[in-house]
């Protein structure tokens, strides 16, 4: 019983971070209809920004996080303006291919700037684990997920309650109508890339503080893809639930099944198995919208 609780709790904690990464995909997909396969590399870049600020400039962690956010926002804005805007109106598949290209470019750039070496952040989180009843969680997992959770909450509030957030949702729903209502949809596209890059950077930083960073960190982004599909490509709430479900699934599979198999590795496969099963039942994801329909 204790094992189950432990696995559930640490799964949920990891899941919050997965959710934040997934939201990076969702924000861009919602606004522009493009799956941004460079999301993982934006994570990686963000984590390197923060790492550089902490090690080279010796700034405290919070300042480093802000540096990462600012840097990623700039990268997002520049990429949107220089690479993606000229492609406006092209088929989604061409743009998706471009994001795959971007991911390679970012990876190469990171290799050049920071070398391929594996780096770790200076110790940030307290060593003492956090006890919740029978469950014992390492502080270096709990605090990062709290940061991720806070970021998700902020994003959700922004989309729900601000004028800009409303305009972004309107643009996502019907570009031509939004355009005709005076909304500069190009600004909304750009903003969505900035927000996606920022959420990716935050998740990259917190993941980096848990397990260290290298230019290969972006691969995590692809591992999160099942979460995105599971939650539904266009739902932030779905990304949150999807992330937590995936985190728990992974942990349960790892905790109960790995010891039974000689090779192990169930933890890595479990999310994809779940993905296939769920998509067979709900092709648009758990929370993805088909369409609102009047009955």
């Amino acid at each position: 019983m204790d094992l189950l609780l432990q696995l559930l709790a640490s799964g949920a904690v990891t899941g919050c971070i997965y959710a934040l990464i997934a939201i990076g995909f969702v924000v861009v997909y919602k606004a522009t209809g493009v799956i941004n396969f460079a999301t993982g590399e934006l994570m990686m870049l963000g984590s390197f920004f923060a790492w550089t600020a902490m090690t080279a400039a010796q700034v405290p962690f919070v300042a480093a996080l802000l540096v990462a956010i600012a840097g990623a926002a700039a990268v997002g804005a520049v990429v949107e303006r220089v690479v993606l805007r000229p492609l406006l109106g092209q088929r989604a598949i061409s743009v998706i291919m471009v994001t795959i290209g971007l991911s390679s470019i970012f990876k190469g750039l990171a290799q050049i700037l920071w070398s391929g070496e594996y780096r770790s952040f200076p110790p940030i989180w307290p060593r003492r684990p956090i006890t919740l009843g029978p469950v014992l969680l390492p502080a270096r997992q709990v605090y990062p997920s709290l940061i991720a959770l806070a970021a998700i909450l902020l994003l959700a509030l922004l989309f729900r309650f601000t004028r800009t957030g409303t305009a972004m949702r309107a643009t996502a729903a019907d570009q031509a109508t939004a355009f005709g209502m005076g909304i500069d949809i190009r600004r909304m596209f750009s903003l969505s890339w900035v927000l996606a890059a920022v959420s990716a950077a935050i998740s990259g930083v917190v993941i980096g503080t848990i397990g260290g960073i290298s230019p290969q960190l972006g691969a995590v982004g692809l591992r999160i893809f099942p979460v995105v599909i599971l939650g539904g490509l266009d739902s932030i709430g779905g990304a949150l639930v999807g992330g937590i479900v995936m985190g728990i699934l992974e942990n349960l599979a790892g905790g109960y099944l790995d010891p039974l198999l000689p090779g192990g590795g169930v933890k890595e496969v479990a999310p994809f198995v779940a993905l296939v099963l769920i998509l067979m039942v709900r092709p648009y994801g758990l929370f993805g919208t088909r369409d609102v329909e009047r009955l």
Partner: protein
Amino acid sequence: MTAPAPPLLAVNNLEVVYHHSVQVLKGLSLAVPEGRIVALLGSNGAGKTTALKAISGLLPLENGAIEAGAVTYRGQDLAGLLPHQIARRGIFQVREGRHVFEDLTVEENLLCATYARPSTPARWRRNAPGATGRGGKAVELDRVYDYFPRLRERRGGLGGYLSGGEQQMLAIGRALVAGPDLMLLDEPSLGLSPLLVEEIFAIVERINREQGTTILLVEQNAHMALQLASHGYIMENGKVVLDGPVERLRQDRDVQEFYLGRRGGQAKSYREVKHYKRRKRWLS
């Protein structure tokens, strides 16, 4: 003799081509004087909606392009402006089929239209008081709810759950929030019950009278449109074939036959009308 005041909107010899190959407008010209309601009539495929899209700048989104001619608004050529810029200059299109944001609430739908609020000092002054972008939000919404009390009841509900009539109200309500000088109204009566059509047209007339909004009205329902408007244009095959004050159009034999569906007070069969229309198109 003084020259007549220039119209608010002038369309001159407009030619529009879709996908580089299909020509839909073939030299369309029309003028909309300030403060009036002008009706644009014509059968399906005559190019009415295309004309509106050419004015509001939405053509490129559908692979359409203006090949020749110009759209002039307050003496300025609108060529090269993007839809949101045109909207902020005071031209607001209420598109055919309502295009309500289904996943947004009624109030959020209205809020989006504040982006089209005046962007130039001149327009700002014309719309004062209560015409500021953000600060005027409550005033704007109240004005919409005053015209459409039913929207106030449903303001927290999703746009997608409204009935067809309520969606049309919301679409016009968004235009009210934008407070345009020129409203392009595309088929507001489409798919509505006769009672609702009466209601919507009464409100359009009220908006024109109370807000001083100039309206270019595209309609299939020629009967209603010719009652509301002061001037009418009739389109066939991408250009205007007839225009004039509505009193004169209502007396015109062709208009009576093809658009009002009667001859000498007698209703004509649809088949005959169809036949005449086709014959006329071939001969033109």
